[in-house]
């Protein structure tokens, strides 16, 4: 039999018949294990992502088996591959269409920094147009690395406050990208 692991309860006060904790923590755990990723795959990192989703690596183990191909319902934008400057506004539009809370993961060297494409036609990292939460290095990164980056996103989701959008740092960050 496989060793089934359950998520530990968040820190709280427990007594006979009751358990109290912060709503932030409980919802953060719930969110982190049901993230709906939106794959924005433009090149070879997208192939690695396909391997990540397939049964051998099985991203579904982390509660992300439901890919959302509509940005409206997605929680996590996974940008995998080279983003040309002409694609930049498209990516930004997709990000703007996502509802809060939303996270962004830049998978691979190209999405993180432009990678080998140090040229006039390629965006030198998607953080030129949208804020990024987690960068996954590699060219392309192995599925293990993508899963590692995904687990970092999960930790972020668990530790952030419920209304991330209302935080002044977050608003400042978005304002620096001309969003809001």
């Amino acid at each position: 039999m496989s060793d089934i692991q359950l998520v530990d309860a968040p820190p709280g006060i427990e007594g006979p018949g009751y358990f109290t904790t912060a709503v932030d923590k409980a919802i953060g755990i719930a969110r982190s294990y049901s993230l709906w990723p939106l794959p924005f795959a433009t090149s070879c990192c997208g192939i690695e992502f396909m391997a990540t989703m397939s049964p051998h690596y099985d991203l579904a183990r982390f509660g992300a088996e439901r890919l959302s191909f509509s940005p409206r319902q997605a929680d996590l934008l996974m940008v995998m591959g080279t983003i040309s400057k002409k694609m930049g506004p498209v990516l930004r539009q997709v990000y703007l269409q996502m509802a809060e809370p939303r996270w962004v993961m830049a998978v691979g060297a190209c999405a993180s920094s432009g990678g080998i494409f140090d040229t006039y036609s390629v965006l030198q990292g998607i953080d030129e147009v949208i804020p990024v939460d987690v960068y996954v290095p590699g060219c392309p990164p192995r599925p293990e690395a993508i899963i590692d980056g995904f687990m970092d996103i999960q930790k972020l989701v668990q530790s952030e406050t419920l209304r991330r959008r209302n935080e002044p740092e977050y608003q400042k960050l978005l304002a620096s990208y001309g969003i809001l």
Binding site: K86, G114, D118, Y120, Q124
Partner: protein
């Protein structure tokens, strides 16, 4: 039908456009001629419509930039005669600051995007083109990126700065 050789092809063209063509050579068996923009469309029309030659297929239009040359901007036409299975290449060189050339869309509709691409990367203006605007690069780009004076590398790149390498 006998195979159309480069010699026969060259003779046929030079008989008609003798003073307007220069032979540049036959690299890899590809007959290459240089001409001027004034008679370019005449020559292309002749190559396309001649019943023997039938260069009906426009393989590509592209550009080139030789900054040290007297006429630095070149436009290159590759034609293919599917009937004879022979190819030919035509080059037209243009002066800097006067990159005008008549459009080939009057002969091939397929020239439309090829000319837009050449305009996009080399700034060659194809007079008479129905919709000459950028095709591959972002619309608000101001430079012509395949010209040699344009820096290839992106100025926004940060992880290749010298101080990351102790320089």
């Amino acid at each position: 039908m006998a195979k159309l050789t480069n010699e026969a092809l060259l003779k046929k063209i030079t008989d008609r456009f003798s003073d307007k063509l220069t032979l540049l050579g036959e690299p890899f068996g590809l007959l290459t001629l240089e001409t001027g923009r004034e008679q370019l469309i005449d020559i292309l029309t002749y190559l396309k419509t001649d019943p023997e030659l039938q260069f009906g297929f426009l393989t590509d239009i592209t550009g080139i930039h030789y900054p040290d040359q007297d006429k630095p901007i070149g436009v290159i036409y590759h034609l293919h005669s599917l009937v004879n299975n022979v190819r030919i290449r035509l080059k037209v060189f243009l002066n800097d600051g006067d990159e005008h050339i008549p459009t080939a869309t009057v002969l091939w509709n397929g020239a439309n995007w090829m000319e837009r691409e050449t305009y996009d990367f080399f700034g060659v203006i194809f007079d008479g083109h129905p919709d000459l605007r950028r095709i591959l690069n972002v619309d608000d780009m101001v430079a012509y990126p395949m010209r040699k004076e344009f820096p290839l590398e992106d100025p926004n790149r940060v992880d290749k700065k010298d101080y990351f390498f102790g320089r």
